[in-house]
Amino acid sequence: MKISLNWLNDFLPVSQEEAAVEALVHDLAMLGFEVESRESVRRDLSGVIAARITGIEPHPDADKLRLVTVDRGEEGPQTVVCGAPNVALGKRVPYACLGAKLPGLDKPLKKAKIRGVVSEGMLCSDVELGLSEDHSGLLELDDSWKAGECLDERLGLCDTMLDIDITQNRGDAFSIVGIARELAALRGVELKEQPRELPEPSGEEAVKVSIEQGCAQTGAPRYAGLVLSHITVGDSPRWLRDRLEAVGLRAINNVVDITNYVMWETGHPVHAFDRREIRGNEIRVRFAKAGEAFTTLDGQQHELDGEHVLICDGERPVALGGIMGGENSMVAEDTSEVLLECACFDPVNIRMGSRRAGIQSDSARRFERGVDMDNVPEVLQRMARLMIDCCGAQVAGPIVDEYAAPRQRPEIALRPARVTALLGLDVPKERIVTHLRSLGIEVREGEGDTLLARSPSWRFDLEREVDLIEEVVRMEGYDQVPDQLLAGIPLDQPANASLALRNRVRDALVRLGFRQQCSYSMVSPDLLERFHPERPALRIRNPLAAEMSVMRHSLLPSLVECAVYNLNRSQEHVALFEIDREFHPDGQSETGCREGMMLCAVLAGRQRGADWQDTERRFGFHDLKARAEELLRELALKDLEWSEGGEGPWSANTLSASRKGRLLLQVGQIEPRVLAAQGCEEELFALQLDLEALEEIGAGLPQYRAFSRQPLLLRDLSLLVEDRHSAGAVREVLEQGLRKLLSDLRLFDIYRGEGVPEGRHSQSWSLSFCAPDRNLRDKDVDPLIKKTLARLKKELGVELRG
């Protein structure tokens, strides 16, 4: 909400000095009202005086220009060139002296030669004075202005606007007076009253008011009206328009402006009906009928339901209660009598009602947070007073006030000891009482040490002891609360084992050279569909965009998307992982969803780029396999059942590991056609580890195995292997046959071509042997190798290459 410091100054002394404004912003912040922005407005009219037109001559060289002589009071007469149409003898108009800095001009005013005639100074319209955009003619000053009188004193402006964030619970502060009340309480000053005394009514003009049974409790508990006559609808006075415009309201006419002014000032939305349109001389407040149509004053037609409150005259609805007036009864240019409305509406009814009708109005915004129900007569008086002053109105009759369901404000018990116990801040009882009273809370002594407090009529958020404690600390100052570090919570609290395991996996991935990514859980349904068309997805009812409309049931698409994003940006080495949740619809779960923790990692692009030492190499399946094996070693996972081949997005080049039938790990190449649909031409390899399965299986700690400190005996074997046999099969036989002395083996070459028969290839294995207790010699390993070669020949037809 925007407030003007000039306006606030009506209620308590406020300075526009920089330091004072700083202090005010700080005070508001410490009261719980954050100032979101701040703006100064300055309209300096110090070089402009009122002048009376005493002579008008034609310009010798221009039809549309005239030479106007004005009386400037003590300064004497002066003749200027003027082109305005509304020049007339005797009129009082603004005259700007040479050197004046006009709000509507870029530079100080200089002597000018206009069509050959020198003009010293100028007569001004609204535009030059920065008063409005009206450039139809000179600003006409009324007869109260004396020639020579400086305009600055009456039309100048120096103001600061604050845009204040009002929290949902503080409807009472949604007004100038509300903010003033808070500041006055903090600063210990009295609030000034605004004029609202009215003359005796000139007659008995009144409209009968009734609130329908049932509507008072949950719709409109109070409705009051007052009839004013002799209204002249026109422009509001400058000061009023300035204030409305300053807080972002558009000036319309004096009657409407005053209703807006009163709303902004008091926080109580009010309305003015054209009395001519109130048929049957009565107001009936009732709930709308379901489906009833009504056109609000903005010209929009709305279909209402049985919970909207309608303000009706003897024949028809004239306003949508608390939300907006009706088009049929709005004030017109020729309106001379008005019915002023000041009513109260149920906050929740207005909040839900305006939401259902799709109307946001300043009125609804206030009623939905709670509006003082006890200030109705005062608000009507204030509004009438302003209309008497600005519209020539007369009070035509008494205030008719129907307060059908008065608000109850029960007393709240407050134990001073509880204040200290909750805050950790010692506030003596007398100070508690002072603080509460400064906020308008009535306080009296209760039984024992207890205080009994009653909230003021404008507060809707004080119902419990704890609410009062917050008021105490707010007045005492949040910065008075000490900072303490207490023990008192035992340390034997449960550790989070899944987080620890997740971090272990995560740190292993980082060591293996993967970068962690963090991507949105909401993804495009098309993306998921490409990878896992068989899986159902959780759909968001009100998504921000189609590409964020489902919850991902697989991390893989996000990883691929991110890899492609980076490859497309010339990032050649892509090694990414993410550990997060996958969302699966689950009717059995109370949230309708099963959330599973998953690790997904991808490799794509160059494992190594070319440089002056090495040639480039692209990632292949085995690069990922090596990393997967290392991960399994770190997690000490054994006894896994391995299988080859994949489905869905996983190509045939995929290895899967399960334990007891539960899929734990997949390592493989992603189907090129799935990638192509994703705009990816590269080969991409992915690893997926089900962390929930891992938690169930239980990762272990690596167990130490003694190693021999004897020197190694090295042997290389080149084997001719039929193409139908894999390296894995050969390796298995080698390991089995040599296990007594084998320490390690490595496949260092695969060769096809010259010297190798068709249908076969050569595998070169490097073997290292050792014994725990002695230095090995050839004679120790030769028989073993011979036996194993024989076994290789028998089982796989493998021969030693010559």
Partner: protein
């Protein structure tokens, strides 16, 4: 005499030939061309010669010196050249390393967890797809509250929702564990916010909750102050401002002194000297009652802090979207 000169010339040539490093070369210089070298000695012998022979001898020795010096410098040059041919070019770039790394948000989350666990907080988690009960009702949020609107929260088609805060974990924790307890719950939360430099429809929060005998607003303040001091430095200051949250009373907005200007005022803190970090307060009695904890016996405090906010301040990141774009040029910087 000429013979003596020839001998010297030969000996010098052999020594020069044999010298293969700068040390040996220096020794050669010292022996023949140095201040007390053999050439000097030859010059010294000149005095013993008859006067008429002296000029011819002098000329011969000078010529010899010229030859020796020329040979010496040539050798020195060639030695230098051969040395640098074998040396490695230190200015060549090493091969590019491809290291792994944690996402910056994970690194900040790790620090948060480390600080709070050292203060006796446990780490809890809860579902991201939540019921309205846990996300709103149990947290004392009335049915009409604006946060429940479609324009603020994201709902699943079946009526459940994406949690808008990590606060539902408070309820789930208190349902399982009785006080005294102290926990934090980091995790993803979701809002119906269009992404821009400071908003993201998904972001990370860390929830905190402590319930026990005699916990106070002052302890909340002390705990958060200690946390921020460990995160941003010991001279960090903390400010509480009144605010409103349905699930705490009293509630406080948490500001810390600007980490850039240390409170003097700068562009980042909009000249205020303070940075807004999150919300906190004493657990509302209604929330405690909802999980059958007697608010007369126990009190508690809670807070919810934005992790991105901390990461942006710690690493100088000025656009929240960078965290979720996963551009390697961004990720590699952490």
């Amino acid at each position: 005499m000429q013979e003596q000169l020839d001998q010297l010339r030969t000996a010098f040539a052999e020594a020069l030939e044999a010298a293969t490093d700068t040390g040996a070369l220096a020794a050669v210089h010292h022996r023949w061309l140095g201040a007390k070298g053999e050439l000097r000695t030859l010059f010294g012998q000149m005095k013993q010669l008859p006067a008429e022979q002296r000029p011819a001898f002098g000329q011969a020795v000078n010529a010899l010196r010229g030859d020796l010096e020329q040979a010496f410098f040539a050798k020195q040059e060639s030695l230098r050249a051969s040395v640098s041919a074998d040396a490695i070019d230190l200015s060549r770039p090493g091969p590019r390393l491809h290291t792994g790394g944690l996402h910056p948000l994970a690194q900040v989350q790790d620090r948060i967890i480390e600080v709070f666990t050292s203060m006796g907080f446990t780490v809890n988690e809860g579902p991201e797809v939540e019921t309205e009960y846990y996300n709103f009702d149990a947290l004392n949020t009335p049915f009409w509250h604006p946060a429940r609107r479609d324009s603020d929260s994201l709902y699943i088609e079946d009526g459940h929702m994406l949690r808008t805060e990590t606060s539902p974990v408070q309820i789930r924790t208190m349902q399982k564990r009785r006080p005294p307890l102290r926990m934090i719950a980091p995790g993803r939360v979701y809002r119906n916010d269009k992404p821009d430099a400071t908003h993201s429809p998904m972001f990370m929060q860390v929830e905190g909750l402590a319930v026990g005998h005699g916990l106070t607003f002052a302890e909340l303040k002390g705990t958060l102050l200690e946390f921020y001091r460990r995160l941003f430095g010991r001279d960090t200051k903390l400010r509480f401002r009144p605010h409103f949250f349905p699930f705490t009373e009293p509630s406080a907005e948490v500001d810390v002194s600007c980490v850039f200007c240390r409170g003097a005022g700068c562009r980042v803190c909009k000249q205020s000297g303070w940075l807004e970090m999150g919300g906190s307060g004493m657990v509302d009695p209604e929330v405690l009652k909802e999980v059958a904890i007697d608010p007369e016996e126990y009190t508690g405090y809670a807070f919810g802090l934005g992790i991105e906010r901390m990461a942006m301040l710690l690493y100088g990141v000025d656009d929240i979207r960078l965290f979720y774009e996963n551009d390697l040029r961004f990720l590699r910087q952490f």
